[in-house]
């Protein structure tokens, strides 16, 4: 391997860790990024002659740190303010390079700090931890690059001015703060999973970023819900090739060609789920992953263990009593028992304002009406569902179901 390609590989694997440590040492996001780039540039120049150091990451951190300190000194000299760093201070203390993993965690928890707006957490995480460029982040989140750039600048400014500390939360705050992080990761995954305005359903790269991020988190912080979320995303993602047909049309779980499911990912997802079940069997992400696993393990749609899925949704509802979960529970009951039983449960949800404007509620009702033989009821419900969705493939799917009723 040439030195240049070795440095390239190091950039892929180490640049985040190096930057995370430089942020701690230099106390500034932008300066850390600049210094990190300079350190790599120095490596490209010096390593061909000096050889690759035994601990490349430590070398990069030390070099970046020195460059960063130089920048700070030059800025201060320019401002004629010498009180913070004495001119004759010759010694830059050796930076602590032993806790690189802690620094990555610090970076993650800082980017996902709850005092930042959620859009800012998303943009900052994608930029600083997933290493997307601002343009890539903007494109992924369907924003104008200037909007995204402003959000990131404002977030960094708030971190600085409100003094959000660069630290891993204390033990007693960790569970709640971890929830914030997992929420951001799952949001990234879902942004990639469906684009509500556009015509395609799956933006593959954001889902990949979320999975990569959760995998990193699982290494750094072995927590049941981290494993649960990772399992959930892997299992969802395993169906990505089966979810659309060649024309980008939506295919529901029931109709998907299961031969197209990524078995490698399913195996990986199930392995992470097993670890999650040891630690947090009844926690929300773990429960959702268990539901996804029940689907993944069914060789055909008719092999699906709906009784188990209904039980899991019920347990999930205990933890998160949302109308959407009640909806999914009702559908599982319908599949386990009869469409009429499911419709009864759905009727109980009719009072919730949020559910009335949720197109999947009406689509579910339509489907159950169809299965029970009430085609008129199905028609009305599909029409209602159509008025509530804007996404191309989902609209076309509902139209197809509506048309199919007429030929039933």
């Amino acid at each position: 391997m040439t030195i240049a390609s070795r440095i390239n590989a190091l950039y892929q694997t180490e640049s985040r860790r190096v930057q995370a440590t430089l942020i701690r040492l230099l106390g500034d996001f932008d300066l850390a990024e600049e210094s990190m780039q300079e350190a790599f540039a120095a490596a490209v120049k010096q390593w061909p002659e000096q050889g690759i150091p035994d601990n490349p990451a430590a070398w990069l951190i030390k070099t970046g740190h020195r460059r960063g300190i130089d920048h700070i000194r030059r800025r201060q000299t320019a401002r004629d303010n010498l009180s913070r760093v004495a001119e004759d201070e010759p010694y830059t203390p050796e930076p602590d390079t032993d806790h690189i993993d802690d620094d990555l965690l610090r970076l993650i928890f800082t980017c996902c700090h709850p005092s930042l707006a959620i859009e800012a957490q998303l943009a900052l995480t994608l930029r600083e931890i997933c290493s997307l460029t601002t343009e890539q982040v903007a494109s992924a989140l369907l924003q104008k690059p200037t909007t995204t750039a402003q959000r990131i600048v404002r977030a960094k400014r708030k971190i600085r001015e409100a003094n959000i500390p660069y630290e891993v939360p204390e033990r007693k705050e960790l569970p709640q703060r971890l929830q914030s992080v997992l929420k951001v990761v799952y949001l990234i995954f879902n942004e990639g999973y469906s684009s509500s305005e556009g015509n395609t359903i799956v933006n593959i790269s954001l889902a990949g970023e979320a999975i990569r991020l959760a995998t990193l988190l699982a290494e750094l912080l072995p927590d049941g819900e981290v494993f649960g979320l990772l399992a959930l995303m892997l299992l969802h993602d395993s169906r990505r090739h089966a979810r659309q047909d060649a024309n980008g049309e939506l295919i529901t779980l029931e109709d998907q060609n299961r031969a197209l499911w990524d078995q490698e990912q399913i195996r990986s997802g199930l392995a992470w789920l097993a670890r999650a079940l040891e630690l947090t069997p009844a926690a929300p992400y773990t429960l959702q992953a268990s539901i996804a696993a029940a689907h993944a393990k069914a060789a055909t749609a008719s092999d699906t263990d709906w009784a188990r899925i209904a039980r899991l949704y019920q347990a999930l509802y205990q933890r998160q009593p949302s109308p959407v979960i009640a909806l999914n529970h009702a559908v599982a009951v319908a599949m386990r028992d009869t469409p009429e039983e499911g419709l009864k449960l759905l009727d109980q949800l009719a009072g919730h304002k949020a559910i009335q404007s949720y197109y999947l509620y009406h689509a579910a009702r339509a489907d159950l009406f169809r299965r029970s033989g009430d085609l008129a009821g199905a028609r009305t419900a599909y029409q209602r569902a159509l008025t509530l969705t804007q996404q191309g493939p989902e609209q076309r799917y509902l139209s197809r179901r509506l048309t199919a009723l007429d030929s039933a």
Partner: protein, 119 residues
């Protein structure tokens, strides 16, 4: 670093309390301030009289305009403030979360700003 914690709540909640509940709430706040002081976190602070005692002053075109009431009608009303000395935002947020009215109101936490040196 100095942070202000502005305490807001719906006054109707207080109005619906019994004498005992109101007494207990105040005692909790007093104990809270004592604890903050002993930790060196409390710089100053003050509870405020209810919103109907408020008057708003504006000066426009050299004219002093006085009006009855708070600067704006809000769902929750300003009930008091704390000026805290905390290491960072996380600590300030932790301290704010222990202010008793946080349980039924909202506490806005903002870093204080130092004015530039006098010309």
């Amino acid at each position: 670093m100095k942070y202000v914690a502005l305490v807001y709540y719906q006054e109707s909640i207080i109005n619906n309390m019994t004498e005992q509940e109101w007494h207990d709430l105040n005692q909790e706040c007093i104990a809270g301030v004592e604890k903050l002081t002993s930790q060196g976190k409390f710089v100053t602070g003050q509870p405020l009289q209810p919103i109907d005692t408020a008057t708003t002053v504006r000066v426009r075109d050299d004219e002093v305009l006085i009006s009855d009431g708070p600067f704006a009608e809000t769902k929750e009303q300003l009930a008091g403030f704390y000026l805290l000395d905390a290491n960072d935002l996380n600590e300030a947020l932790q301290l704010a979360s222990r202010i008793p009215p946080a349980r039924f109101g909202s506490i806005e936490v903002r870093p204080a700003r130092e004015l530039p040196p006098k010309d």
